[in-house]
């Protein structure tokens, strides 16, 4: 690997100061970034490791009914800590990658990268989460801006993600077995004021809400409500693993399964 420096700040303030340099790049759990560096697809001069910042770790419940997850909290920790309070999120976190990847990868890293096939963007958009950074709060509906694109500014760090806890929810992932990313993943969450449906893995624009399904499920939360609804194949990802039509079809299948399994 090429030579670079690595710093391990202990506080958010130290990390923000370190990231002010042009050539610095934040490093979460590294499960995407380290392979990216090995392939020379990125080459920052300095990496600022966020894993040693204790104020960015852990899971708690807010008095507004949100699950608050520190940006540097690993997937394994979320899977454990949310098992009772938010089983839909726990199930999503507990099936990302493999066990060793889940022990390193972080929620902040996943959302900052916004891979079009990653699982966490579906949970954030599917719950209408609030993404808290070192400088502001961003609504999930404003945060995701296309494949690998987010509203984050240079050097901005996700310090916490607040997921409103739904009445019931579920995430269904059609696994791409080689990468363990979602070929198509659908997160469904039912709230007192309506249902949200977020789809990952399918669109060339990254994670998106399937509003037609949201309306139908808000009227009646059962798989049968989705009958006759479909997503157009236009703009869906086509690759060796699946055509746009195949992915569009899977969205309906995964959504029905998620509604049937929601708890």
């Amino acid at each position: 690997m090429y030579a670079f420096d690595i710093e391990r700040p202990r506080t958010i303030a130290e990390a923000v100061a370190a990231l002010a340099s042009d050539e610095a790049q934040a490093l979460g759990g590294g499960q995407t970034l380290i392979p990216t560096l090995k392939q020379r697809l990125a080459s920052p001069e300095t990496l600022i490791s966020l894993t040693g910042i204790s104020e960015m770790q852990g899971v708690c419940l807010s008095d507004r009914g949100e699950l608050c997850v520190g940006g540097a909290t690993t997937h394994a920790e979320v899977a454990r800590m949310a098992a009772k309070s938010f089983p839909g999120l726990s199930g999503l976190a507990g099936h990302i990658g493999d066990p060793a990847v889940r022990n390193r990868g972080t929620v902040g890293g996943s959302l900052a990268n916004n891979d079009p096939s990653a699982c966490y963007p579906a949970a954030a958009l599917g719950t209408g989460a609030t993404i808290k950074t070192d400088r502001r709060e961003i609504a999930a509906d404003d945060y995701f801006q296309g494949m690998f694109a987010t509203d984050l500014q240079e050097g901005e760090i996700i310090t916490e993600v607040r997921f409103p806890i739904p009445e019931v929810s579920n995430y269904q992932k059609f696994l791409q077995p080689a990468s363990r990313f979602a070929l198509v993943g659908v997160f469904v969450a039912k709230y007192p004021d309506g249902v949200r449906v977020a789809v990952t893995g399918a669109s060339e624009d990254g994670v998106f809400r399937w509003t037609e399904a949201e309306r139908a499920l808000s009227a009646s939360f059962e798989p049968a409500s989705l009958e006759g609804l479909s997503v157009p194949a236009d703009g869906m990802i086509g690759d060796i693993h699946g055509t746009p039509e195949y992915r569009a079809h899977l969205i309906g299948v995964m959504t029905r399964r998620a509604v049937a399994a929601a708890s």
Partner: protein, 155 residues
């Protein structure tokens, strides 16, 4: 950091991966580098009790941590540990390249879930690849190491 109970230190570059520090600086070559892309799990070690792929973590990030590698899995008298012995008894290895990672993964699983089902073992091993495709006997060995009967249906 502490490796297999012994305190170790070294001056390394920022880019040094934990796997390289273990293998090159400490000469603990039981930890294997297979794919180098965090797919295969041959480099799996424990950091503060948790399974991680040492090819996808920088050594400086393990500063102050307790690391356990395959070299730390034998009994103190040098005989094979329970999981290692089960791999031998049940022919859980063919070429042996993936074995260190498999044993470390198995140890992490059994700590979390002392009596896993066959399905749970297979699911837990999804990040460990065996190119000899000897999974069946690996699963058998792990079930045996957990003290359970090892009658598996043929696949």
């Amino acid at each position: 950091m502490t490796v297999n109970g012994k305190s170790v230190s070294g001056t390394i570059e920022g880019r040094t991966l934990l796997a390289d520090f273990l293998r090159t600086d400490l000469r603990l070559t039981g930890t294997h580098i297979g794919c180098d892309t965090s797919q295969c799990g041959a480099c799996l070690v424990h950091v503060n009790g948790m399974a991680v792929k040492s090819c996808t973590m920088f050594a400086v990030e393990a500063d102050g941590a307790e690391v356990v590698t395959i070299e730390g899995m034998a009994n103190t008298d040098g005989s094979l540990g329970v999981i290692q012995q089960a791999f031998q008894d049940h022919h859980g290895l063919q070429c042996g390249f993936c074995t260190p990672g498999m044993v470390m993964s198995a140890a992490a699983l059994l700590k979390e879930n002392p009596k896993p089902t066959e399905a749970e073992v297979r699911e837990y091993l999804e990040g460990n690849i065996c190119r000899c495709t000897g999974y069946h006997n690996i699963v058998k060995a792990i079930l045996a190491a957990s003290g359970q009967d090892v009658v598996l249906a043929a696949e």
